[in-house]
Amino acid sequence: MKKVTLSHVSKSYDQQSFAVDDVNVEINPGEFFVLVGPSGCGKSTMLRMIAGLETITAGDLSIGENRVNHMPPSKREISMVFQNYALYPHLTVEENILFGLKARKMNKIERNERCQEAADLLGLTPYLQRKPRELSGGQRQRVALARTVVSQRPICLLDEPLSNLDAKLRGYMRTEIRQLQKKLGITMIYVTHDQVEAMTMGDRMMVLKDGKVQQVGTPLSIYNQPKNLFVATFIGAPPMNTLPLSLSQDRSLMFMNEKISLATPVSWRTLLNTKDHFHLGVRPEQVFPAEEVLEPSIKFDVTIEDTEVLGNETHFTFTLGKATWKAKWQGQWPKNIGDLLSLAVPLEAAYLFDTDTEEIFYSGQVQLSEGVQVL
């Protein structure tokens, strides 16, 4: 098994701006590594550079101990699953699965053995003689995965493989791919724009924006300790609430706008000594009914603008200063639009971000314990 190492890898198409900018990461053997970010962030470009389908402008890419910058894709010992599956329409499912093995001139007996195995594993046996167009989206997806399985290559690259499927099937295939990866013990590098996929599937994930790495870590560590405002609002559904605040001269008041202000918690005053502005970030599930919060907290009253009752939880939408916030409460809450709510946010659930750099400079949880905290 080989690890994949990127050091100072960059990609530029026009010699002026970077599609991928100075990426450093080490992907361990057998790891499920997710590249996630909004569209155009360079995650697909990065994957294609690892595959060898895109040249590397600067930096080094190694697989195992070898630098592979100029190695052709077929020599890199990788397999790839494409967004539109890239099945050959003129070949049957079986021929599609065996396409690569035939190209590698593997003998027929072993070829058929592997095909049987893969077909059994993915439940494709009844469909082997069909053409791809006679299959449903999920089945096509599985044929594409079967190609990876029969290739028995240690590294598999997946480029948004689930984005053409409907929501239910997507959820199903998520587990299936994850189980497949664990069963085969291969390295998977998985590109997605869907943070739910990233959170649920990845051993580790890398959050990208505009070609720059924002944060690398386990899904929970990224959720609990986002490094900056972008990561905080990108990961999590509904996303983290944020609110720009400006401070009074003596730092005792935090202004949402010209009129409305909150008292600055005493424990924050030294923290905020050097700042005039900052962003407050709070996860929707950390916005509680005021009477339930006993520890030190920020309290405010709002008017409900929208409610969504989802059965096991209820979302409230309201405006705070210039920002639209959401609160996520467990259970079903019979509240109407226009009702007043008294809310509180425990200080330890707050994240504070620098307005200029957007970097985090305080998080309640980090103060409580170093490392990952499971709630």
Binding site: S74, F82, N84, L87, Y88, F99, G100, A103, R104
Partner: protein, 270 residues
């Protein structure tokens, strides 16, 4: 609404199909007529007889001509498919400097009428010593700008993931070409093949120029011979020849159409 439209559309279709078919139908009828029937301008033959067909084969070596035509047309068809497919692959997939300029130059040859190039072509063929050979009737037509353009446009629709997947599996450029690109674009290849075969089959002027004996002549020249070998043209015999010449082209169209439909319904992935 639909019904009233049918009342307008169908009569129009029937009339135009009658207009289109009339020459062929009438040729078919004339081929069974005796000389007097033709002179009388009757529409149906008074007695149906096959004598015209027998006489066609007696007057000119029609089988020989048919075979020549078949060899030449098949040769041109295959040659065109190979040359155009290679050229189209280069224009579609291999990035080289000045590709667009070369392609435009290539396409611009479409605007030069073929007749204008006929004399230089003839001189070249003569210099090669290719007179009265199949080579002279096939090779000059292999490079076809229209065919290259047609295939290139279709090649460009091949999803690049298919090419990349082949790349990752380690297929060579040539293997990608004939295992991925060609099967994917079968419809266009069939279209081009039929087009090439039919145009060559119907060619008259060029085969007339480069052949001087019956050994290599094609069927269209044979037909013309039927009109001139006798003092008064026996139209019954000529039409019998025409019908015989049409049959292979019709067969090709029927077979090809089935292939074309298959290709169209095969459908790509989304």
């Amino acid at each position: 609404m639909m019904k009233s439209r049918g009342w307008v559309v169908y009569p129009l279709l029937i009339i135009s199909s009658l207009l289109l078919f009339f020459p062929i139908v009438y040729a078919f009828l004339v081929s069974f007529m005796s000389g007097t029937d033709v002179m009388n301008r009757s529409f149906l033959p008074s007695i149906w007889n096959w004598s015209n067909y027998e006489r066609v084969f007696e007057t000119v070596p029609l089988m020989r001509y048919l075979m020549n035509s078949f060899i030449v047309s098949t040769g041109v068809m295959l040659g065109q498919l190979v040359v155009c497919a290679f050229a189209a692959y280069a224009f579609a997939f291999i990035p080289f400097k000045g590709r667009n300029a070369v392609f435009l130059l290539f396409i611009s040859t479409l605007m030069i009428p073929w007749e204008a190039a006929m004399i230089p072509n003839f001189l070249t063929i003569q210099a090669f010593g290719w007179m009265n050979s199949y080579l002279s009737m096939t090779v000059p037509f292999f490079a076809l700008a229209f065919g290259t353009f047609l295939l290139r446009q279709h090649f460009k629709t091949v999803p690049h993931e298919l090419m990349e997947a082949a790349d990752i599996e380690g297929l060579s450029k040539f293997a990608t070409f004939y295992k991925v690109v060609l099967p994917y674009c079968r419809t266009s290849l069939v279209t081009l093949g039929i087009y090439g075969f039919l145009t060559t089959w119907n060619m008259y002027l060029w085969p007339l120029l480069v052949t001087t004996n019956d050994e290599k002549r094609t069927v269209q020249i044979g037909l013309k011979q039927l009109q001139t070998v006798e003092v008064a043209t026996d139209w019954g015999v000529v039409m019998a020849g025409v019908i015989i010449v049409i049959i292979p082209t019709l067969l090709l169209l029927f077979i090809g159409q089935k292939q074309l439909q298959k290709g169209l319904t095969q459908g790509a992935l989304k």
